[in-house]
């Protein structure tokens, strides 16, 4: 199965308190996001909404990843729940205007999961439909 690395423009919209903190720690270890990824920070996952995601796509992004704190760990308590629901609603909107749903992904994380964040970004590729073998 081809492991095509997708380097099309990706916008990473994330909560400062989790993703932002994680990126800061990665920077201390001299590691950073790949060049094709643009980092857009928000104070809390609860502020991420349809407009922000649509504007990211309009600005040329081929993929958008939304990241907020893990359930129950959100400082504003409802931030992660709102981010999850807003992202789901926006995915429906994207499908309706001809942008495949997989191009918008939602993840939750904690500040110590910087490595996971980098792995998610790399693994953010189109779902492989024509995979042979199991149905």
């Amino acid at each position: 199965m081809s492991d095509a690395r997708d380097t099309s423009p990706l916008v990473l919209i994330g909560c400062q308190r989790s993703a932002g903190a994680a990126l800061a720690r990665l920077a201390d270890e001299g590691r950073a996001l790949p060049s094709h990824v643009r980092w857009q920070s928000v104070p809390c996952g609860g502020t991420i909404d349809e407009l922000m995601i649509l504007e990211a796509f309009e600005s040329g992004a081929e993929r958008v990843m939304v990241v907020s704190c893990a359930a129950g760990a959100c400082n504003s308590v409802v931030g992660d729940e709102r981010a999850r629901r807003r992202t789901a609603a926006t995915r429906e909107l994207l499908e309706a205007i001809g942008i495949e749903g997989w191009r918008l992904r939602y993840e939750t994380m904690a500040p110590n999961m910087g490595a996971d964040l980098l792995r998610w970004v790399d693994a953010f590729v189109a779902p492989v439909e024509e995979s042979v073998g199991e149905a």
């Binding site: 909404d49 407009l51 504007e55 309009e58 909107l93 205007i97």
Partner: protein, 222 residues
């Protein structure tokens, strides 16, 4: 307030595919309060329309605008130029705003972006429910401040019907039985005996059944 909801995107797009330019005009009063057609919703819809055009390889100019209240001609006047320059005006106001624009700019093609629902109030953040259908002759005094015309699925005046169970309307579990609410309220304010008199048939001429209505205040008409 008037409560409305955005139409499904596919339905909106179906009207716009032939247009080379669309003006998306919002309204910052009722539909902004119910987060359907205010400044921000104009931005969201416009972004979606631009992306849809890009995906379908269509050249389409999308212009965003928003007025204080689209049911007032004075607030719509500044749109004159915009209307002239665009093939389609996509109004994000309630049905009243859409029609005001259509009347004010007879040659303009005006399409609604929202489904106007009802007069009601927010029950909690993000949830609105109907309270008044404008029957033109208010009976709230007789029923403890709960309107059976609007909130009873069969607008009974001598309710409840046989299907009221545990305070829930037979038609839909999310609908409280209006007559349970009337009963509870009248018991609470000590006016239950009002329900013993037979309420005569309603004169529906004051409602929409009497034809589209007008309110004229002779003392105010210039």
């Amino acid at each position: 307030m008037i409560v409305a909801e955005r139409k499904p995107i596919a339905e909106i797009l179906a009207n716009l595919r032939q247009a080379s330019s669309v003006a998306v005009v919002g309204c910052d009063t009722c539909v902004a309060v119910c987060m359907a057609g205010g400044t921000k919703e104009v931005a969201v819809l416009s972004a979606a329309l631009r992306l849809a055009a890009r995906q379908e390889g269509r050249e389409q100019l999308i212009t965003e605008a928003c007025v204080e209240r689209q049911c007032e001609v004075e607030f719509n006047e500044p749109l004159a130029e915009l209307v002239a320059e665009h093939d389609v005006i996509l109004s994000m106001a309630c049905g009243v705003g859409v029609q005001t624009l259509a009347e004010q700019y007879p040659s303009a093609v005006v399409y609604p972006a929202l489904n106007t629902k009802f007069m009601g109030r927010p029950e909690e953040l993000g949830t609105w429910s109907e309270r008044c259908l404008g029957c033109g002759n208010c009976v709230l005094d007789k029923f403890g401040g709960v309107c059976p015309i609007t909130r009873c699925s069969k607008n009974l005046l001598n309710g409840p019907c046989g299907g009221s169970q545990d305070g829930i309307c037979e038609v839909d579990p999310s609908i409280p039985c209006a007559w349970q609410l009337v009963y509870d309220r009248l018991v609470a304010i000590g006016q239950l005996e009002r329900l013993w008199q037979v309420e005569p048939p309603k004169d529906w001429t004051t409602s929409r059944d009497g034809g589209p209505r007008k309110v004229v205040r002779e003392d105010i008409v210039p």
